[in-house]
């Protein structure tokens, strides 16, 4: 078997394939489900993480701002409570400004009175301290110089006039021209006696905040930024010294232009708490030149009107998911691989190997299959196969025995088998049949043709016509046929075929099968037996004939001898009439003897082929009438009457009138002999359509058995029932048959339904007269 076919058809291969495909499908489906359900979940976690980080950052920024705010309000309060005491203010204010120490982000602060309020002589009278590069707080008087611009018009000053006592104003972010630090200023109003007095300010260094955002952004794996109320970036993404210029990077532009403007506009009008959901905004942007979608979170800070934002490339938070999925997939693959391997080896060990072992055993014709585990399925299968094997062996043995017996029976019967297929019209037989037909078994083509060729021509019809008729007759189930075949060497063999038909429900023959017998020996012995029987029969008939003849001869001889004896004895004493009567009796007896001898002569002539007919024109009806007249005495004695039906007045033809008279008289005499008393003998004569003269005589009396209707025409035979009842030579019918057949006619007997018999003959009416 080719290996490819074996693999294609192997159940084990199919099981392997099915398991493998199942696992692949399970792998694909599980991964699809994981990616479908887990990704959004992880996205949400990512958003939460961003929000959490952002809130934390916001809290810290708020803390910073609150410190600055508190300090600004504190300065305003001090300025309110210590009016115009410049000395005290100089002592106290720096302490407040520097309350957080060196490292703190408050880098400057002071109070800025209205023009001419603190000192009617001075327009500018600010008290301002700033930190130098070493972080030391130094008093700056630069703003009070006459050359310096009036601070009352600064953007951080003017809006404060409208504020209430506990309110502050936050400036835009800026770079301090002196320290080059990124800063913001918070301004609080100073009221004295309910009147606006001036402004207190605290400068806040934004570096801490910027660093905070930067650190957290890098933790999130993205960018962080802070935008002030004017839409300028305080912090990243692109924080430069040239900060006042708008950031034009694609990402920044996208954030600001596309999504954030309305957000920024809103917050100006309706400042809210930064944790309100309205102040939180998530959105995705697909920035130009970035490889991946970006997730952006904006947090609004209502008080300062700042916006804190974080952006992370989606890939950044997808990466862990993908990593997780990848790892999960790898674990799955590994698990599946282990699983498949285990299953593969299990199948190999527990299914394939046992199967292969059994198959090998079967292939090697092991008598009984061996399988160690009796209880499992294969064990049971093995048991059943073994059981079936043993049954098969037993039935094979039986079959062989019965086949041997049958063959022996066939051999002993000298019988050959024969099979005929009706549809294909083919004949088949075994070697023995071929031997019977004297044919070489191996060289036969179509056996039907072979048979037809050797069948004796006289028997051909039995096969070509009678046998075929039997095939078509649904009623015939068994058919026997005897025929002769001509063997090579021209010897003849008798064959008997005995077959049984197999028929469909509607009677159509399908086939027949049966036996051929060589009948030659039996036929020969039958023939010799028949010959012997014939000889014996012939002898017996001759003996009977002789005995009969003796009887028939003795009766007239008895008369001749007796009356001649009486004549001799009484020749002298008897009267003349008496003697005459003796002579008449002697003559009658002599005539009877002569008639008998003539009968014998006729028969011997016919049998010797020496009968010569003298055909002359004569009338059959006349002959019948003559015979009737002659038998009048006998009819009267037996109390019989005759009914003669002449269909035609005359039946003229050329025939031997003497012979036909003999026949008619003989038939009439027989009819009288076999009739019961007081019955009618019916005679009819006619000429039929075939121009034949037809004679029929019917009596009522002793019936003739059916099997004797033919044999009564044989010489010396009289109807067996009752033989002793009849007198006669037994030659009458034999002679009659010879005469009628010599005329070219036919004579036969028919048994009547009730009793008696009908004898009929016909002779042609067209014969020419004998010259």
């Amino acid at each position: 078997m080719p290996k490819s076919t074996a693999i294609k058809t192997s159940i084990i291969s199919k099981v392997h394939l099915i398991i493998f495909l199942s696992f692949v499908s399970a792998f694909i489906v599980s991964n699809y489900l994981v990616s479908r359900d887990v990704s959004p979940l992880l996205s949400k976690l990512s958003d939460d993480s961003m929000l959490k980080t952002s809130s934390k950052v916001l809290e810290k920024i708020q803390q910073e701002l609150n410190i600055a705010k508190t300090l600004a309000i504190s300065l305003a309060t001090i300025a309110n409570s210590l009016p115009n005491d410049k000395k005290n203010l100089h002592n106290l204010l720096p302490k407040i400004i520097n309350a957080q120490g060196l490292i703190q982000t408050v880098v400057g602060g002071g109070i800025w009175p209205e023009p001419f309020k603190a000192d009617p002589k001075l327009e500018k009278n600010s008290l301002f301290w700033g930190k130098n590069n070493q972080g030391k707080l130094i008093y700056f008087d630069d703003y009070n110089q006459t050359s310096a611009p009036a601070y009352h018009n600064e953007s951080w000053y003017t809006p404060v006039k409208n504020l209430k006592a506990d309110q502050v104003h936050w400036s835009e972010s800026y770079i301090d021209p002196y320290t080059q630090q990124h800063m913001i200023t918070v301004s609080a109003p100073i009221f004295r006696d309910g009147e606006f007095y001036g402004v207190s300010t605290i400068d806040l260094n934004l570096d801490n905040i910027i660093q905070l955002i930067k650190d957290n952004a890098s933790q999130l794996g993205g960018h962080g930024f802070l935008v002030d109320s004017t839409g300028l970036f305080i912090s990243q993404p692109k924080t430069t010294l040239d900060q006042q210029q708008p950031d034009t990077s694609p990402l920044s532009l996208s954030i600001l232009t596309k999504n954030n403007l309305s957000f920024v506009a809103d917050k100006k009008n309706r400042p809210r708490h930064h944790q309100d959901t309205e102040n939180i905004k998530f959105f995705d942007i697909n920035a130009v030149n970035t490889e991946d979608d970006t997730r952006v979170l904006l947090l609004n800070m209502p008080e300062t009107q700042w916006t804190l934002g974080f952006s992370t490339a989606k890939s950044a938070f997808r990466a862990p998911i993908n990593n997780f999925l990848k790892k999960a997939a790898i674990y799955q693959v590994v698990t599946l691989f282990i699983f498949l391997t285990v299953i593969y080896f299990c199948i190999q060990k527990y299914i394939q190997q046992p199967f292969m072992r059994l198959i090998l055993q079967l292939r090697n014709n092991d008598k009984l299959l061996k399988y160690p585990q009796v209880d499992d399925e294969l064990g049971k299968l093995t048991q059943l196969v073994n059981q079936r094997h043993q049954e098969l062996q037993a039935s094979r043995k039986k079959l062989r025995e019965s086949s041997d017996n049958l063959q022996r029976a066939l051999d002993s019967a000298h019988a050959g088998t024969v099979f005929f297929d009706v549809k294909s019209h083919t004949l088949d037989w075994d070697e023995k049949s071929s031997m019977i037909f004297g044919l070489c078994h191996d060289e036969l083509g179509n056996k039907y043709d072979a048979l037809i060729q050797i069948v004796h021509p006289d028997d051909l019809e039995k096969i070509t016509v009678h046998f075929k008729a039997a095939i078509d007759d649904p009623a015939i189930m068994n058919y026997e046929i005897e025929y002769r075949v001509i063997l090579t060497g021209q010897s003849m063999r008798w064959v008997q075929g005995s077959v049984r038909f197999t028929r469909q429900a509607d009677g159509t023959a399908i086939s027949c099968s049966g036996l051929h017998f060589d009948l030659t020996e039996r036929k020969a012995s039958e023939a010799s037996l028949l010959a012997q029987e014939n000889a014996e029969n012939s002898n017996r008939l001759k003996s009977e004939f002789l005995a009969n003849m003796s009887h028939e001869l003795r009766t007239p001889m008895h008369g001749i001898l007796s009356f001649s004896e009486f004549g001799i004895k009484k020749s002298e004493t008897a009267e003349r009439e008496k003697l005459l009567q003796y002579f008449i009796y002697i003559k009658t007896s002599g005539q009877r003897l002569l008639a008998l001898l003539n009968d014998l002569l006729d028969l011997s002539k016919v049998e010797a082929g020496k009968l010569i007919l003298n055909k002359q024109k004569a009338d059959l009806n006349t002959i019948i009438d003559t015979c009737n007249r002659e038998q009048q005495q006998h009819l009267a004695d037996s109390e019989l009457s005759i009914q003669f039906d002449k269909r035609q007045p005359r039946l003229d033809a050329n025939f031997d009138a003497t012979r036909i008279t003999q026949v008619v008289c003989n038939l009439l005499s027989n009819a009288i002999k076999f009739s019961s008393p007081n019955t009618v003998i019916s005679i009819s004569s006619d000429k039929n359509d075939l121009n034949q003269l037809v004679f029929s005589i019917n009596n009522h009396g002793t019936p003739i058995p059916a099997n004797e209707l033919e044999s009564i025409f044989d010489p010396f035979i009289q109807s067996s029932k009752p033989p002793s009842d009849i007198t006669g030579t037994g030659l009458g019918l034999a002679i009659s048959r010879e005469f009628i057949e010599a005329h070219g006619g036919k004579i036969w007997a028919e048994a009547n339904k009730e009793e008696g018999a009908t004898f009929k003959f016909f002779i042609p009416s067209t014969a020419k007269a004998t010259i």
């Binding site: 003795r554 009766t555 002793s724």
Partner: protein
């Protein structure tokens, strides 16, 4: 002295004529043509002896003999078979039915007369 009555049974008229010629002077003779007529005749008048032919129509001599021999009142009747059947077998058949004698035709005149004499 009254003549003994002999019933002759034969289908051949000639044979009856011969018997009449032969026995007519000494015996009273009755003639019938077959076995059945014989039985009827015996019923009417019991003969002293029966001369019975064998081959006859309707009922043959053997059957008639057998009937008579098996019938009370007739079993004692002497029956002499007269037949043209000359074989030993046939004569044995005749005697086996109970006939007293079997004479083949043609017969010697004296043989018949002596036989009749013997059984009367």
């Amino acid at each position: 002295m009254k003549k003994p009555y002999i019933l002759a049974v034969d289908d051949e008229e000639l044979n009856l004529l011969i018997l009449e010629e032969l026995l007519g002077d000494k015996y009273e003779l009755g003639f019938v043509k077959n076995g059945r007529c014989c039985l009827e005749s015996v019923n009417e008048r019991l003969p002293d002896l029966i001369l019975m032919d064998v081959n006859m129509p309707i009922m043959d001599g053997l059957e008639a003999c057998s009937v008579l021999k098996n019938q009370q009142g007739t079993a004692h009747l002497p029956i002499v078979m007269l037949s043209a059947l000359a074989n030993e077998v046939e004569s044995n058949d005749g005697l086996s039915t109970g006939a007293s004698a079997y004479i083949t035709k043609p017969f010697e005149e004296n043989l018949l007369l002596d036989t009749i004499q013997l059984y009367l």
